[in-house]
Amino acid sequence: MPTLFDFSDYDRLIPLVTNSLIAGALLALVGGLIGVFVITRQLAFAVHGVSELSFAGAAVFLLFGLDVVLGSIVGSITAAIIIGTLGARVQERNSLVAVLMPFGLGIGILALSLYPGRAANKFGLLTGQIVTVDDPQVTWLIAISVSVLIAIAVFWRPLVFASLDSSVAVARGVKVDLIGWLFMILLGLVVAAAVQIIGALLVLSLLVTPAAAALRLSSSQFWVPVMSIGIAMISVVGGILLALGGGLPISPYVTTISFLFYLVARILTSKRFGIIGAGGRK
């Protein structure tokens, strides 16, 4: 059995994961930020559906020898547009996602089974990479992250308005439907990026868990995104550094760290043990 933590060759290993660290930090930044809107727009489950179709797209592109990240983006944007168009109401959306998810997984597994390459590449898309983020992937991630950050900054106020106070926003002239579409496309891009690092099955630990923890701790428009990004950053960068020694996938470390943050946030704000008092007046 391999050891879970082993720091003996650390100085030699760090340079090998520079790409992973850059990619992870970028992903934590956009993932933690967009996660806040994922929760306020009640899209947590939809993220899972988008990531399975992203996996399918990546697997199909891999099979045909095309760019895996591009395949990932094609898959996730397709899913995001389907969910954004047909699943306006939460109940409809949930069943739609539950229908899309196994379909995407099935297509992806079929494509991977037909793919003649190494097995390690295959499971990377589902459960995350070890240290194999290459330069073209980092370029993709930087391009995606920068575009998403700019778009969110430009649309911040109407996006918050549409997400939290939809009918009042409509009256005030906000194009709520358009904002919803735009957000699904941004979400699709971030999911496609996250699938490369953490794997399709575990995307939620980066796009939902940090924001969920932050929203337990605060309702401030400033502190919720900052805390969410911080938790995502510690989870991903910490996960990569911890995974390095053991030679294991980074995803179990990332998912465990972000889960622990959520657990602590819940305990701190629980009615019985809480010291932050989520329900009552301060």
Partner: protein
Amino acid sequence: MTLLKTTDASLSFGTRAIWDKLSFAVEKGEFIALIGANGTGKSTLLKAIIGVQGLDSGSIELEDGASISYIPQHRTEDSATPLKVKDLVRLGLDGHKPGLPLPTLAAKEKVTAALSSVQALELANESIGNLSGGEMQRVRVAQAMIGSPDLILADEPLSNLDLNQQLVVSELFEQQRKKTGAAVLFVTHDVNPIIDYVDKVLYLAPGGYRMGTTEEVMQSEVLSELYGADIDVVRNQGRIVVIGTHDHAHHPGEDWV
């Protein structure tokens, strides 16, 4: 000048007609009370005006460039919204514009003034989830007025308020109208708190509608005809009491129209 005009607006849900050929106009600066029993489509009418509810036929026209603020009916699920009171009010000011909500002094002063006017300044840093129904209503009024809209659509803004707060909030609508020339379409079960301010009453009933001054509409004959039953409208010391509207078995409070 006409701000809002509906022409033969008709809507039904399934076989149930909500309104049939509803035509009325709202002039600039007019204060209109929208009254009627439950199920006559008062809230639906506001939703149709802001555009989240379509019509079966007819049209609703708003003057070009006119801005609307909407005060939705209070719902308990709003309490899950992760937002502070001051940020919710600020959305009413510039939430429709692109960019980040930078903490400028001008915006802060406006939010402070809006919250002070509804006596809710001490709630500024509170989470929405911690507000009582009455507090939330007052915050909603501040959010609607901060943007100085041309038309304020208010869906039962007096619900959850005690009698004194009802009078305070009603007066705020009147002050806003005087200050900014805003028109007000005000859904209420009880015309009395706003009776001194109201220019016209739009009364929706299962069998039709009537629009006119309070004196014209709030008459025994008019309401009896609308409901197809004997209704008594009694005036006492400037207040109006309606006796005998029939659907009160479910909603005992509503005969106080």
